[in-house]
Protein backbone atom coordinates (compact mmCIF):
# COMPACT_ATOMS: atom_id res chain seq x y z
CA UNK A 1 0.00 0.00 0.00
CA UNK A 2 1.30 3.43 -0.97
CA UNK A 3 -0.98 6.41 -0.36
CA UNK A 4 -0.04 9.94 -1.33
CA UNK A 5 -1.86 13.04 -0.15
CA UNK A 6 -1.44 16.68 -1.12
CA UNK A 7 -2.53 19.38 1.32
CA UNK A 8 -2.90 22.80 -0.25
CA UNK A 9 -4.17 26.25 0.67
CA UNK A 10 -3.19 29.82 1.51
CA UNK A 11 0.02 30.37 3.44
CA UNK A 12 -1.12 30.67 7.07
CA UNK A 13 -4.05 28.26 6.86
CA UNK A 14 -1.97 25.57 8.46
CA UNK A 15 -1.63 23.28 5.44
CA UNK A 16 1.95 22.37 6.25
CA UNK A 17 0.89 21.63 9.85
CA UNK A 18 -1.79 19.26 8.56
CA UNK A 19 0.83 17.39 6.57
CA UNK A 20 3.20 17.27 9.51
CA UNK A 21 0.43 16.08 11.78
CA UNK A 22 -0.47 13.24 9.46
CA UNK A 23 3.20 12.33 8.92
CA UNK A 24 3.91 12.13 12.62
CA UNK A 25 0.79 10.09 13.25
CA UNK A 26 1.76 7.64 10.49
CA UNK A 27 5.29 7.46 11.87
CA UNK A 28 4.09 6.64 15.36
CA UNK A 29 1.89 3.92 13.87
CA UNK A 30 5.07 2.36 12.51
CA UNK A 31 4.55 3.15 8.84
CA UNK A 32 7.07 4.39 6.31
CA UNK A 33 6.42 8.05 5.65
CA UNK A 34 7.86 11.00 3.75
CA UNK A 35 6.83 14.64 4.00
CA UNK A 36 7.80 17.15 1.32
CA UNK A 37 6.84 20.83 1.62
CA UNK A 38 6.28 22.79 -1.58
CA UNK A 39 9.41 24.47 -2.61
CA UNK A 40 8.70 26.60 -5.57
CA UNK A 41 9.38 30.29 -5.73
CA UNK A 42 6.21 30.92 -3.71
CA UNK A 43 4.96 34.38 -2.81
CA UNK A 44 3.87 35.65 0.56
CA UNK A 45 0.12 35.26 0.99
CA UNK A 46 0.15 32.90 -1.98
CA UNK A 47 -0.40 29.19 -2.01
CA UNK A 48 1.42 26.61 0.06
CA UNK A 49 1.28 22.86 -0.25
CA UNK A 50 2.92 19.71 0.97
CA UNK A 51 2.91 16.07 0.01
CA UNK A 52 2.72 13.18 2.46
CA UNK A 53 3.46 9.64 1.31
CA UNK A 54 2.53 6.75 3.61
CA UNK A 55 3.41 3.15 2.88
CA UNK A 56 4.07 -0.30 4.36
CA UNK A 57 7.37 -0.48 2.50
CA UNK A 58 10.22 1.86 1.56
CA UNK A 59 8.99 4.95 -0.28
CA UNK A 60 10.67 5.59 -3.61
CA UNK A 61 9.69 9.17 -4.24
CA UNK A 62 8.22 11.79 -1.90
CA UNK A 63 6.72 13.57 -4.91
CA UNK A 64 3.13 12.86 -5.96
CA UNK A 65 2.26 13.46 -9.59
CA UNK A 66 -1.10 11.74 -9.12
CA UNK A 67 -2.09 11.79 -5.46
CA UNK A 68 -4.77 9.54 -3.97
CA UNK A 69 -6.15 12.34 -1.82
CA UNK A 70 -6.11 16.10 -2.18
CA UNK A 71 -7.14 18.56 0.51
CA UNK A 72 -7.94 21.94 -1.01
CA UNK A 73 -8.31 24.67 1.60
CA UNK A 74 -8.91 27.43 -0.96
CA UNK A 75 -9.99 28.09 -4.54
CA UNK A 76 -6.54 28.26 -6.23
CA UNK A 77 -5.61 24.87 -4.74
CA UNK A 78 -8.79 23.32 -6.07
CA UNK A 79 -8.05 24.66 -9.54
CA UNK A 80 -4.44 23.55 -9.40
CA UNK A 81 -4.79 20.02 -8.05
CA UNK A 82 -8.19 18.62 -9.01
CA UNK A 83 -6.96 17.26 -12.32
CA UNK A 84 -4.02 15.48 -10.74
CA UNK A 85 -6.03 13.21 -8.41
CA UNK A 86 -6.04 9.55 -9.28
CA UNK A 87 -9.25 8.16 -10.63
CA UNK A 88 -11.31 7.00 -7.66
CA UNK A 89 -9.43 9.33 -5.32
CA UNK A 90 -10.89 11.70 -2.76
CA UNK A 91 -11.00 15.48 -2.99
CA UNK A 92 -11.62 17.40 0.23
CA UNK A 93 -12.81 20.96 -0.21
CA UNK A 94 -13.03 23.68 2.41
CA UNK A 95 -16.49 24.64 1.21
CA UNK A 96 -16.76 27.68 3.51
CA UNK A 97 -14.51 29.74 1.27
CA UNK A 98 -14.33 27.65 -1.86
CA UNK A 99 -16.78 27.27 -4.71
CA UNK A 100 -16.83 23.49 -5.11
CA UNK A 101 -16.75 23.49 -8.89
CA UNK A 102 -15.34 20.12 -9.89
CA UNK A 103 -15.02 19.12 -13.51
CA UNK A 104 -14.38 15.43 -12.92
CA UNK A 105 -16.89 12.67 -12.35
CA UNK A 106 -14.41 9.92 -11.44
CA UNK A 107 -13.43 11.22 -8.03
CA UNK A 108 -15.34 11.57 -4.78
CA UNK A 109 -15.79 15.14 -3.62
CA UNK A 110 -16.11 15.77 0.11
CA UNK A 111 -17.25 19.22 1.10
CA UNK A 112 -16.24 20.29 4.58
CA UNK A 113 -17.30 23.73 5.79
CA UNK A 114 -14.10 23.81 7.83
CA UNK A 115 -13.73 27.57 8.23
CA UNK A 116 -17.39 27.97 9.32
CA UNK A 117 -17.12 25.21 11.89
CA UNK A 118 -13.89 26.64 13.24
CA UNK A 119 -15.59 30.04 13.45
CA UNK A 120 -18.42 28.47 15.48
CA UNK A 121 -15.83 26.99 17.80
CA UNK A 122 -14.46 30.53 18.18
CA UNK A 123 -11.12 29.42 16.84
CA UNK A 124 -10.91 30.36 13.16
CA UNK A 125 -7.30 29.21 12.98
CA UNK A 126 -8.37 25.63 13.72
CA UNK A 127 -10.07 25.20 10.34
CA UNK A 128 -7.18 22.96 9.37
CA UNK A 129 -7.87 20.62 12.29
CA UNK A 130 -11.58 20.46 11.44
CA UNK A 131 -10.52 19.38 7.95
CA UNK A 132 -8.03 16.95 9.43
CA UNK A 133 -10.80 15.31 11.46
CA UNK A 134 -12.96 14.86 8.37
CA UNK A 135 -9.94 13.61 6.42
CA UNK A 136 -9.11 11.04 9.06
CA UNK A 137 -12.69 9.73 9.21
CA UNK A 138 -13.04 9.43 5.44
CA UNK A 139 -9.61 8.00 4.64
CA UNK A 140 -8.90 5.85 7.68
CA UNK A 141 -5.18 6.40 7.01
CA UNK A 142 -4.36 6.86 10.68
CA UNK A 143 -6.36 6.50 13.88
CA UNK A 144 -8.05 9.53 15.39
CA UNK A 145 -6.45 8.67 18.72
CA UNK A 146 -2.99 8.81 17.16
CA UNK A 147 -3.73 12.25 15.72
CA UNK A 148 -4.76 13.42 19.18
CA UNK A 149 -1.54 12.03 20.66
CA UNK A 150 0.44 13.94 18.02
CA UNK A 151 -1.47 17.13 18.87
CA UNK A 152 -0.56 16.74 22.53
CA UNK A 153 3.07 16.40 21.57
CA UNK A 154 3.01 19.30 19.09
CA UNK A 155 1.57 21.68 21.67
CA UNK A 156 3.40 20.38 24.70
CA UNK A 157 4.77 23.86 25.37
CA UNK A 158 1.43 25.57 24.62
CA UNK A 159 -0.95 23.36 26.55
CA UNK A 160 -3.96 25.65 26.22
CA UNK A 161 -4.00 25.01 22.48
CA UNK A 162 -4.45 21.27 22.85
CA UNK A 163 -8.10 21.40 23.85
CA UNK A 164 -9.32 23.71 21.13
CA UNK A 165 -7.44 21.79 18.43
CA UNK A 166 -8.81 18.53 19.74
CA UNK A 167 -12.32 19.97 19.73
CA UNK A 168 -11.87 21.08 16.12
CA UNK A 169 -10.52 17.67 15.15
CA UNK A 170 -13.50 15.91 16.73
CA UNK A 171 -15.96 18.33 15.10
CA UNK A 172 -14.56 17.43 11.69
CA UNK A 173 -14.50 13.75 12.51
CA UNK A 174 -18.13 13.73 13.63
CA UNK A 175 -19.35 15.36 10.42
CA UNK A 176 -19.45 12.03 8.62
Amino acid sequence: MLIKTIFAGFGGQGVLSMGLNLSQAAMSEGKHVTYLPSYGAEVRGGTANCTVAISDEEIASPVASSPDFVVAMNQPSLVRFQNQIQSGGLLFINSSITEPVVSRGDIEVIEVPASDIAEELKSPKSANMVMMGAFSKKTNLVLLSTLIEVLKNTFKTKKMLIDINKKALMAGYDLF
Binding site: H32, P37, Y39, E57, A60, S61
Partner: protein, 353 residues
Amino acid sequence: MYGNAAIGEAAIRAGCQCYFGYPITPQNELTEYMATNLSRRKGCSFVQAESEVSAINMVYGASLAGVRTMTSSSSPGISLKQEGISYLAACELPAVIVNISRGGPGLGSISAAQSDYFQSTRGGGHGDYRTIVLAPSSVQELADLTHRAFDLADKYRIPVIILGDGMLGQMMEPLEFKYDAPSELPVRSDALRGAKGRPSRIVKTFTSRPTELEELNWSLFRRYRLIEKEETTYEIYLVEDAELVVVAFGASARIAKGAIRNARANGLKVGMFRPITLWPFPYEKISELTQTTKHFLVFEMNMGQMIEDVKLAVEGKREISFYGRPGGVIPTPSEVLRVITRLYYQKGLKIEK
Protein backbone atom coordinates in the same frame (compact mmCIF):
# COMPACT_ATOMS: atom_id res chain seq x y z
CA MET B 1 13.15 15.59 10.73
CA TYR B 2 14.05 17.61 7.65
CA GLY B 3 17.02 16.28 5.69
CA ASN B 4 18.87 19.55 6.20
CA ALA B 5 18.29 19.46 9.95
CA ALA B 6 19.39 15.82 10.07
CA ILE B 7 22.77 16.81 8.62
CA GLY B 8 23.13 19.55 11.21
CA GLU B 9 22.26 17.30 14.14
CA ALA B 10 24.53 14.52 12.87
CA ALA B 11 27.40 17.02 12.51
CA ILE B 12 26.93 18.20 16.09
CA ARG B 13 26.91 14.59 17.27
CA ALA B 14 30.09 13.95 15.28
CA GLY B 15 31.78 16.68 17.30
CA CYS B 16 31.65 19.48 14.75
CA GLN B 17 32.85 22.55 16.60
CA CYS B 18 32.75 25.25 13.96
CA TYR B 19 30.20 25.80 11.22
CA PHE B 20 30.45 28.60 8.69
CA GLY B 21 27.56 29.29 6.37
CA TYR B 22 26.13 31.67 3.87
CA PRO B 23 22.45 31.48 2.91
CA ILE B 24 21.31 29.82 -0.30
CA THR B 25 18.21 27.78 -1.14
CA PRO B 26 17.66 24.81 -0.79
CA GLN B 27 20.08 24.31 2.10
CA ASN B 28 19.02 27.20 4.36
CA GLU B 29 17.47 24.96 7.02
CA LEU B 30 20.92 23.52 7.70
CA THR B 31 22.40 26.96 8.35
CA GLU B 32 19.33 27.77 10.44
CA TYR B 33 19.68 24.55 12.44
CA MET B 34 23.32 25.28 13.19
CA ALA B 35 22.53 28.89 14.13
CA THR B 36 20.07 27.65 16.74
CA ASN B 37 21.71 24.47 17.93
CA LEU B 38 25.46 24.59 17.39
CA SER B 39 25.90 28.09 18.81
CA ARG B 40 24.26 26.93 22.06
CA ARG B 41 26.86 24.24 22.64
CA LYS B 42 29.80 24.93 24.87
CA GLY B 43 32.96 25.77 22.95
CA CYS B 44 31.23 25.71 19.57
CA SER B 45 30.95 28.49 17.02
CA PHE B 46 28.45 29.36 14.36
CA VAL B 47 29.32 32.14 11.96
CA GLN B 48 27.23 33.43 9.10
CA ALA B 49 29.97 34.67 6.83
CA GLU B 50 29.69 37.55 4.37
CA SER B 51 30.14 35.27 1.40
CA GLU B 52 30.76 31.66 0.40
CA VAL B 53 34.42 32.43 -0.25
CA SER B 54 34.75 33.79 3.23
CA ALA B 55 32.97 30.78 4.77
CA ILE B 56 35.28 28.23 3.17
CA ASN B 57 38.33 30.20 4.25
CA MET B 58 37.00 30.23 7.81
CA VAL B 59 36.76 26.44 7.50
CA TYR B 60 40.38 26.47 6.33
CA GLY B 61 41.39 28.36 9.45
CA ALA B 62 39.34 26.24 11.84
CA SER B 63 40.75 23.06 10.35
CA LEU B 64 44.28 24.39 10.86
CA ALA B 65 43.36 24.95 14.50
CA GLY B 66 42.59 21.22 14.68
CA VAL B 67 38.82 21.19 15.18
CA ARG B 68 36.06 19.44 13.27
CA THR B 69 34.55 21.97 10.92
CA MET B 70 31.90 22.17 8.24
CA THR B 71 30.34 24.48 5.69
CA SER B 72 27.37 24.00 3.41
CA SER B 73 25.92 25.58 0.32
CA SER B 74 24.16 24.79 -2.91
CA SER B 75 25.60 24.46 -6.42
CA PRO B 76 26.54 28.07 -7.38
CA GLY B 77 27.82 28.62 -3.84
CA ILE B 78 29.91 25.45 -4.01
CA SER B 79 31.50 26.76 -7.21
CA LEU B 80 32.67 29.77 -5.20
CA LYS B 81 34.15 27.50 -2.53
CA GLN B 82 36.30 25.54 -4.96
CA GLU B 83 39.42 27.65 -4.50
CA GLY B 84 39.26 27.07 -0.75
CA ILE B 85 38.70 23.34 -1.20
CA SER B 86 41.79 23.15 -3.41
CA TYR B 87 43.80 24.89 -0.67
CA LEU B 88 42.44 22.49 1.96
CA ALA B 89 43.50 19.58 -0.25
CA ALA B 90 46.98 21.06 -0.72
CA CYS B 91 47.45 21.52 3.03
CA GLU B 92 46.09 18.03 3.71
CA LEU B 93 43.39 19.42 5.96
CA PRO B 94 40.15 17.66 6.91
CA ALA B 95 36.83 19.45 6.37
CA VAL B 96 33.25 18.56 5.53
CA ILE B 97 31.52 20.44 2.71
CA VAL B 98 27.82 19.87 2.13
CA ASN B 99 26.31 20.51 -1.29
CA ILE B 100 22.50 20.43 -1.31
CA SER B 101 22.56 20.85 -5.03
CA ARG B 102 20.13 22.50 -7.42
CA GLY B 103 19.75 22.62 -11.19
CA GLY B 104 22.39 24.34 -13.28
CA PRO B 105 24.33 25.78 -15.04
CA GLY B 106 24.42 29.35 -13.80
CA LEU B 107 22.16 30.33 -10.94
CA GLY B 108 19.94 27.52 -12.21
CA SER B 109 16.71 26.49 -10.47
CA ILE B 110 16.12 25.78 -6.80
CA SER B 111 14.66 22.36 -7.47
CA ALA B 112 16.50 19.07 -6.95
CA ALA B 113 19.04 18.04 -9.60
CA GLN B 114 22.22 16.00 -9.84
CA SER B 115 24.14 18.20 -12.22
CA ASP B 116 27.09 18.64 -9.86
CA TYR B 117 28.44 15.12 -10.26
CA PHE B 118 31.40 16.24 -12.37
CA GLN B 119 32.15 19.19 -10.12
CA SER B 120 32.12 16.97 -7.02
CA THR B 121 33.99 13.94 -8.29
CA ARG B 122 36.64 15.59 -10.44
CA GLY B 123 38.18 17.72 -7.73
CA GLY B 124 36.21 20.81 -8.65
CA GLY B 125 38.95 23.34 -8.09
CA HIS B 126 42.38 23.65 -9.66
CA GLY B 127 45.26 21.26 -9.20
CA ASP B 128 45.92 17.54 -8.85
CA TYR B 129 43.66 16.50 -6.02
CA ARG B 130 40.65 14.46 -5.02
CA THR B 131 37.90 14.83 -2.47
CA ILE B 132 35.89 11.97 -1.04
CA VAL B 133 32.28 12.33 -2.23
CA LEU B 134 29.40 10.72 -0.36
CA ALA B 135 25.94 10.49 -1.94
CA PRO B 136 23.10 9.79 0.52
CA SER B 137 19.66 8.77 -0.72
CA SER B 138 17.48 9.11 2.39
CA VAL B 139 17.23 11.33 5.44
CA GLN B 140 18.64 8.49 7.56
CA GLU B 141 21.63 8.29 5.28
CA LEU B 142 22.13 12.07 5.32
CA ALA B 143 22.70 11.68 9.06
CA ASP B 144 24.79 8.50 8.87
CA LEU B 145 27.02 9.75 6.07
CA THR B 146 27.55 13.12 7.75
CA HIS B 147 29.02 11.28 10.70
CA ARG B 148 31.12 9.13 8.40
CA ALA B 149 32.30 12.22 6.50
CA PHE B 150 33.87 13.69 9.64
CA ASP B 151 35.59 10.39 10.45
CA LEU B 152 36.92 9.98 6.91
CA ALA B 153 38.10 13.58 6.73
CA ASP B 154 40.15 13.14 9.90
CA LYS B 155 41.40 9.67 9.05
CA TYR B 156 42.77 10.66 5.64
CA ARG B 157 43.22 14.41 6.21
CA ILE B 158 41.10 15.20 3.20
CA PRO B 159 38.09 17.41 2.39
CA VAL B 160 34.92 15.32 2.16
CA ILE B 161 31.91 16.41 0.13
CA ILE B 162 28.37 15.33 0.88
CA LEU B 163 26.38 15.57 -2.32
CA GLY B 164 22.66 15.79 -1.64
CA ASP B 165 19.96 17.67 -3.47
CA GLY B 166 16.96 19.89 -2.84
CA MET B 167 14.62 16.94 -2.52
CA LEU B 168 16.64 15.16 0.18
CA GLY B 169 17.36 18.40 2.01
CA GLN B 170 13.72 19.51 2.10
CA MET B 171 11.96 16.25 2.78
CA MET B 172 11.10 14.86 6.15
CA GLU B 173 11.48 11.19 7.05
CA PRO B 174 11.74 9.27 10.30
CA LEU B 175 15.33 8.64 11.35
CA GLU B 176 17.44 7.44 14.25
CA PHE B 177 20.73 8.95 15.32
CA LYS B 178 23.28 6.27 16.02
CA TYR B 179 25.63 8.43 18.08
CA ASP B 180 25.37 10.85 20.97
CA ALA B 181 27.32 14.08 20.95
CA PRO B 182 30.81 13.53 22.41
CA SER B 183 31.39 14.83 25.91
CA GLU B 184 34.69 16.29 24.78
CA LEU B 185 35.20 17.92 21.41
CA PRO B 186 37.91 16.23 19.36
CA VAL B 187 41.05 18.25 18.57
CA ARG B 188 43.68 16.91 16.19
CA SER B 189 47.19 16.47 17.54
CA ASP B 190 48.70 18.53 14.72
CA ALA B 191 46.62 21.61 15.53
CA LEU B 192 48.35 24.95 15.10
CA ARG B 193 47.74 26.65 18.42
CA GLY B 194 51.05 28.36 19.18
CA ALA B 195 54.54 26.85 19.08
CA LYS B 196 55.27 27.09 22.79
CA GLY B 197 57.73 24.34 23.70
CA ARG B 198 58.09 22.98 20.18
CA PRO B 199 59.67 24.06 16.90
CA SER B 200 57.36 26.15 14.72
CA ARG B 201 55.49 24.54 11.85
CA ILE B 202 54.53 26.20 8.62
CA VAL B 203 51.52 25.02 6.63
CA LYS B 204 51.53 26.52 3.15
CA THR B 205 50.20 25.80 -0.29
CA PHE B 206 52.95 27.43 -2.32
CA THR B 207 56.40 26.14 -3.06
CA SER B 208 58.93 27.53 -5.52
CA ARG B 209 60.57 24.14 -6.02
CA PRO B 210 58.71 21.82 -8.41
CA THR B 211 60.29 18.70 -6.92
CA GLU B 212 58.96 19.58 -3.49
CA LEU B 213 55.45 19.94 -4.89
CA GLU B 214 55.88 16.75 -6.86
CA GLU B 215 56.61 14.93 -3.60
CA LEU B 216 53.38 16.35 -2.11
CA ASN B 217 51.44 15.23 -5.19
CA TRP B 218 52.88 11.76 -4.89
CA SER B 219 52.09 11.53 -1.23
CA LEU B 220 48.51 12.69 -1.84
CA PHE B 221 48.03 10.15 -4.58
CA ARG B 222 49.41 7.29 -2.50
CA ARG B 223 46.75 8.21 0.04
CA TYR B 224 44.08 8.43 -2.66
CA ARG B 225 44.98 4.89 -3.79
CA LEU B 226 44.56 3.72 -0.21
CA ILE B 227 41.15 5.43 0.05
CA GLU B 228 40.07 3.74 -3.19
CA LYS B 229 41.06 0.41 -1.73
CA GLU B 230 39.56 0.86 1.73
CA GLU B 231 36.58 3.16 1.52
CA THR B 232 34.65 2.40 -1.68
CA THR B 233 31.03 1.68 -0.75
CA TYR B 234 27.88 0.87 -2.67
CA GLU B 235 24.46 -0.72 -2.34
CA ILE B 236 23.24 -3.55 -4.52
CA TYR B 237 19.58 -4.44 -4.88
CA LEU B 238 18.32 -7.63 -6.59
CA VAL B 239 21.31 -7.86 -8.95
CA GLU B 240 22.02 -11.59 -8.55
CA ASP B 241 19.77 -12.75 -11.38
CA ALA B 242 19.27 -9.37 -13.06
CA GLU B 243 19.28 -9.16 -16.86
CA LEU B 244 19.18 -5.39 -16.59
CA VAL B 245 20.94 -3.35 -13.91
CA VAL B 246 19.94 0.25 -13.27
CA VAL B 247 22.85 2.37 -12.00
CA ALA B 248 21.74 5.44 -10.04
CA PHE B 249 22.90 7.49 -7.06
CA GLY B 250 21.30 9.67 -4.39
CA ALA B 251 17.69 10.74 -4.90
CA SER B 252 17.39 9.11 -8.32
CA ALA B 253 18.38 5.76 -6.80
CA ARG B 254 15.36 5.71 -4.50
CA ILE B 255 13.11 6.60 -7.43
CA ALA B 256 14.72 3.80 -9.46
CA LYS B 257 14.20 1.36 -6.62
CA GLY B 258 10.46 2.03 -6.63
CA ALA B 259 10.37 1.42 -10.39
CA ILE B 260 12.37 -1.79 -10.01
CA ARG B 261 9.99 -3.20 -7.41
CA ASN B 262 7.15 -2.81 -9.90
CA ALA B 263 9.23 -4.15 -12.79
CA ARG B 264 9.96 -7.28 -10.72
CA ALA B 265 6.24 -7.69 -10.05
CA ASN B 266 5.81 -7.81 -13.84
CA GLY B 267 8.43 -10.54 -14.16
CA LEU B 268 11.25 -8.32 -15.47
CA LYS B 269 14.58 -9.29 -13.96
CA VAL B 270 15.87 -5.86 -13.03
CA GLY B 271 18.32 -4.91 -10.28
CA MET B 272 19.95 -1.75 -9.05
CA PHE B 273 23.49 -0.66 -8.33
CA ARG B 274 23.95 2.45 -6.23
CA PRO B 275 27.37 3.98 -5.59
CA ILE B 276 27.42 5.50 -2.09
CA THR B 277 30.93 6.88 -2.54
CA LEU B 278 30.97 8.71 -5.88
CA TRP B 279 34.67 9.13 -5.38
CA PRO B 280 36.14 6.62 -4.91
CA PHE B 281 33.80 5.17 -7.54
CA PRO B 282 33.06 1.41 -7.29
CA TYR B 283 34.53 0.50 -10.70
CA GLU B 284 35.47 -3.02 -9.64
CA LYS B 285 32.03 -4.10 -8.51
CA ILE B 286 30.39 -2.79 -11.70
CA SER B 287 33.04 -4.58 -13.74
CA GLU B 288 32.13 -7.76 -11.87
CA LEU B 289 28.45 -7.24 -12.70
CA THR B 290 29.22 -7.32 -16.43
CA GLN B 291 29.70 -11.07 -16.01
CA THR B 292 26.14 -11.67 -14.82
CA THR B 293 24.03 -8.91 -16.31
CA LYS B 294 23.30 -8.21 -19.98
CA HIS B 295 22.49 -4.54 -20.06
CA PHE B 296 23.01 -1.39 -17.99
CA LEU B 297 20.71 1.58 -17.68
CA VAL B 298 22.23 4.68 -16.09
CA PHE B 299 19.57 6.94 -14.61
CA GLU B 300 20.49 10.42 -13.39
CA MET B 301 18.81 13.77 -12.78
CA ASN B 302 21.16 15.42 -15.29
CA MET B 303 22.18 14.98 -18.93
CA GLY B 304 24.60 12.12 -18.22
CA GLN B 305 27.59 12.59 -15.95
CA MET B 306 28.04 9.44 -13.84
CA ILE B 307 27.55 7.44 -17.04
CA GLU B 308 31.18 8.26 -17.90
CA ASP B 309 32.36 6.39 -14.81
CA VAL B 310 30.03 3.50 -15.55
CA LYS B 311 31.50 3.32 -19.07
CA LEU B 312 35.02 3.22 -17.59
CA ALA B 313 33.93 0.37 -15.33
CA VAL B 314 32.08 -1.63 -18.00
CA GLU B 315 34.96 -1.21 -20.48
CA GLY B 316 32.73 -1.83 -23.47
CA LYS B 317 31.84 -5.35 -22.33
CA ARG B 318 28.13 -4.55 -22.15
CA GLU B 319 25.84 -2.02 -23.73
CA ILE B 320 24.84 0.99 -21.63
CA SER B 321 21.68 3.08 -22.04
CA PHE B 322 20.92 6.39 -20.40
CA TYR B 323 17.84 8.12 -19.06
CA GLY B 324 18.05 11.57 -17.50
CA ARG B 325 15.88 14.52 -16.53
CA PRO B 326 17.89 17.72 -15.99
CA GLY B 327 16.98 21.19 -14.78
CA GLY B 328 15.36 20.25 -11.49
CA VAL B 329 12.59 18.04 -12.87
CA ILE B 330 12.03 15.09 -10.53
CA PRO B 331 11.01 12.02 -12.53
CA THR B 332 8.38 9.67 -11.08
CA PRO B 333 8.90 5.96 -10.39
CA SER B 334 6.24 5.14 -13.01
CA GLU B 335 8.11 7.20 -15.61
CA VAL B 336 11.29 5.24 -14.89
CA LEU B 337 9.30 1.99 -14.98
CA ARG B 338 8.15 2.88 -18.52
CA VAL B 339 11.77 3.46 -19.55
CA ILE B 340 12.87 0.16 -17.98
CA THR B 341 10.02 -1.80 -19.58
CA ARG B 342 10.59 -0.32 -23.05
CA LEU B 343 14.31 -0.97 -22.89
CA TYR B 344 13.81 -4.49 -21.55
CA TYR B 345 11.68 -5.51 -24.53
CA GLN B 346 13.81 -3.61 -27.08
CA LYS B 347 16.87 -5.50 -25.95
CA GLY B 348 15.06 -8.85 -25.93
CA LEU B 349 15.93 -9.62 -22.31
CA LYS B 350 14.56 -12.73 -20.65
CA ILE B 351 11.29 -12.50 -18.74
CA GLU B 352 10.63 -14.63 -15.69
CA LYS B 353 7.95 -17.23 -16.40
